[in-house]
């Protein structure tokens, strides 16, 4: 599995990186940590590129490289990277121009080959979409800052599951909240939740929401089959049927100590673009990390 973690400024990216690496670790996935730098006007893009080459030659790193350096040190401090060669420092690493607006920090010496550090410049949705396509990423993890419209576009246009990390604290005890239904995305969310819960020994709350109807046998069956699946896998879980508006019900139930994992809406993409969808609204309104599986 390939997982993409998009980071921004050092202060705000720590929770994203921490949770992203936990998920990546649970899947034993190859991880790409990408910093997307500011979009450069077409008028100045070559001038900026020449200046950046000049700065690299003089070891005056561009800001994105500084952030990647911080991310690399952070991963080492958390033992996600085994540093075998004590003489290797970040300054020894090279930056390779791979293609338009994509650069890879080539790490010298002995280190985990499962971590890629990528520097991109441009419009964030464009760049993350390109990165997902380039490296076949299956989950994209991004911080909860920025505007809500950006998260909407990410879920809409990026061809991978998307996790928005909001208000995450490693000190807090989390449980996975898994709203299920009969969509394909929901099946994918169940798979991801199972793997993550098993690896990190987290309990799962499986819920389903009945909207404007007293009962739904289909949903109840899915709830029971998911419960059995987790029992067989040895994962502690509870089940609950909620009623009312699905977005409000999930947001209220989630609180701030849940990791919400749910499937993408099967709705028409055009309707989703103009009117949004329930998973997108949940991701926007929840005060905790939310993964929308595709």
């Amino acid at each position: 599995m390939n997982i993409l973690i998009a980071i921004g400024g050092k202060e705000y990216s720590k929770p994203t990186l921490e949770l992203g690496m936990k998920i990546s670790d649970s899947f034993e996935a190859s991880t790409t940590i990408a910093y997307v730098g500011k979009k450069i006007s077409q008028f100045s893009e070559k001038d900026v590129s020449v200046v950046h080459q000049n700065l690299d030659d003089r070891e005056l790193y561009r800001p994105g490289v500084r952030t990647l350096e911080w991310a690399y040190d952070f991963l080492q401090s958390k033992n996600y990277i085994d540093k075998k060669d004590a003489n290797v420092t970040f300054n020894d690493h090279l930056i390779i121009d791979e293609e338009n607006s994509r650069m890879r920090v080539l790490l010298k010496g002995s280190h985990s080959n499962k971590i890629d550090l990528i520097l991109r410049t441009g419009e964030i949705i464009d760049q993350l979409r390109a990165e997902v396509e380039t490296s076949n990423q299956e989950i994209t993890i991004i911080g909860g800052g920025g505007n809500k419209g950006m998260h909407h576009k990410l879920v809409q246009f990026i061809d991978s599951s998307v996790m928005v990390v909001k208000n995450y604290s490693p000190k807090r005890k989390y449980r996975i909240l898994l709203p299920v239904n009969n969509s394909l995305g929901s099946n994918k969310a169940i798979e991801i939740a199972q793997q993550f819960a098993k690896s990190k020994s987290l309990p799962i709350d499986i819920i389903t929401v009945l909207e404007n109807k007293p009962s739904d046998d289909k949903l109840k069956n899915i709830l029971v089959s998911t419960e059995n699946r987790f029992k067989e896998a040895g994962i502690i879980n509870t089940t609950k049927i909620l009623e009312g508006n699905p977005v409000e019900a999930v947001v209220n139930y989630a609180g701030d100590n849940s990791l919400v994992m749910l499937g993408v809406s099967p709705k028409n993409p055009i309707l989703k673009y103009f009117f949004g969808s329930k998973p997108i609204s949940i991701a926007q309104q929840c005060n905790c990390p939310v993964l929308i599986a595709k």
């Binding site: 008028f43 100045s44 001038d47 020449v50 030659d57 464009d126 028409n268 673009y273």
Partner: protein, 469 residues
């Protein structure tokens, strides 16, 4: 729902979300084409203004690549009957376009020589006695060099010097942050201000010189331009120094001039023969701009600079090809071509007529409103649209306002160089912004003060100094 339908509609939505400004500009153009031609304007002129509106929208929001905008401009001129193909082709290439091409290539060749260490040594020798003097020197040298070699060349050489000095400054403290900003803005403002000084300082200057010659048969040579613009540059530099001290108060205690001095003195540049050759080539080209610009044109001379560097083997074609912004060259060529058609079709005269009609509505006074309006308009437009493109499109109208008075055309070109407000306005602003150390908000806040001061300086100079020349 059918998966392939979802994939197709999702791809189409993505395309639409990325290209919405292109779709908008096309729809707007179709709407305008279906309206009646305004009174006093012929069909070709009306269509040229519709293309102008499209170009403004597309260049501002960049929904399609610049080369595509350039080609679209050319194609539409012919398809909408603005001019026949031969005329469009003939107006596509002139000395101003050659200058843009030559100066971009020349800049890459110069930057490739690694002259920053050599320059740093000179600046330290001349201005190294104190930190504040060093920063003033950095700004002054940036301005002088930028006035001859263009801001995109000099910012690439000077920025590494500025960043080396502030390399380990802690930007979490206000004093440290201000020290970093003061250093970066000293370099940036130096290069921006410098670019107004001579015709070769910026493509917009050459474009305006070309327009003046074509539309009003007025020729301004290199020295003539300098006589008008250099005093403004000097006053602006002094004002910029104080504006920056006011905007970024700092003790400068975190700046490491001594450490940088040591580092620079250790680097061995004495035996670098390329530096000597580079200096000689630059001297030759600048001297040629002074002496032979009438005979050979500024563009051909700039091309000679790049040519000599390549012949001497000091820069390879691969490096020049990789780093030259061919899209910008195409775009300038296309916008200059459109500028010519706007003038030829009488659209610029019509715009000026409308503009004068608007001015006539203002209360009577002794103040001539057309100058400040035109200077502020070009200055502001340049900040959102870049300076050279502004001059290539608004230049004909600035000349049309006062065809025999060069102060209008010169003011428009110089005001369009006041790219202090937005980071997209010039390569310098974008490069400073790309370091991640300067926010758009900071750039605008300080820039607003500088922009207003610069317009005032330009007005006073045109009113009291230019009349004496």
């Amino acid at each position: 729902m059918n998966e392939s339908y979802k994939i197709i509609s999702s791809s189409m939505l993505y395309w639409f979300s990325q290209k919405r400004w292109f779709v908008f500009s096309v729809l707007l153009a179709i709407l305008l084409l279906n309206l009646a031609t305004p009174v006093g304007l012929n069909v070709a002129g009306y269509h040229s203004l519709i293309i102008l509106l499209m170009v403004f929208t597309l260049v501002t929001f960049e929904p399609i690549p610049f080369p595509a905008i350039a080609l679209l401009t050319l194609v539409l001129q012919v398809l909408l009957g603005v001019a026949p193909p031969d005329v469009v082709a003939a107006s596509f290439m002139n000395d101003a376009v050659l200058f843009v091409m030559g100066s971009l290539m020349f800049a890459i060749a110069i930057v490739h020589q690694g002259l920053d260490i050599r320059l740093a040594k000179i600046i330290i020798k001349l201005f190294g006695r104190s930190k504040r003097l060093f920063l003033a020197g950095l700004m002054t040298i940036s301005a002088i060099l930028s006035s001859f070699l263009g801001e995109h060349t000099i910012i690439a050489i000077m920025l590494p010097i500025g960043l080396s000095v502030v390399k380990n400054v802690d930007t979490k403290q206000t004093d440290g942050k201000n020290a970093v900003l003061l250093t970066l803005f000293s370099v940036a403002y130096g290069t921006i201000i410098g670019s107004i000084g001579t015709p070769s300082g910026g493509a917009r200057n050459v474009i305006m010189i070309n327009y003046l010659q074509e539309f009003s048969s007025i020729h301004i040579d290199y020295w003539e331009w300098m006589k008008h613009a250099y005093p403004i540059l000097i006053v602006q530099l002094v004002v910029a120094y104080f504006v920056l001290q006011f905007a970024f108060p700092t003790t400068l205690k975190n700046i490491q001039i001594k450490g940088y001095k040591k580092k620079v003195s250790k680097s061995n540049t004495k035996n670098n023969i390329n530096h000597l050759f580079s200096f000689l080539i630059i001297l030759l080209i600048v001297t040629s701009w002074f002496l032979f610009n009438e005979e050979f044109g500024l563009g051909i001379i700039a091309l000679c600079g790049a040519l000599i560097f390549m012949i001497c083997g000091m820069v390879s074609w691969e490096v020049i090809n990789k780093n030259t912004n061919w899209g910008v060259i195409l775009l300038f060529a296309a916008t200059i071509s459109l500028g010519f058609q706007i003038n030829e079709t009488g659209a610029s005269s019509w715009m000026v007529e409308k503009f004068n009609g608007l001015l006539a509505l203002m209360p009577e006074s002794n103040i001539n409103f057309s100058w400040p309006f035109m200077a502020i308009l070009t200055g502001l437009t340049a900040n959102f649209f870049t300076s050279s493109a502004t001059v290539s499109l608004l230049g004909p109208m600035a000349i049309e306002l006062q065809p025999t008075d060069i102060s209008f055309a010169l003011s428009a070109a110089i005001a369009s160089g006041f790219s202090f407000l937005t980071v997209i306005s010039s390569p310098t602003a974008m490069i400073i912004y790309s370091t991640g150390l300067v926010s758009t908000k900071t750039f605008f806040k300080v820039g607003l003060l500088m922009f207003i001061s610069s317009i005032a300086i330009l007005y006073l100079m045109s009113k009291f100094y230019w009349v004496t020349l």
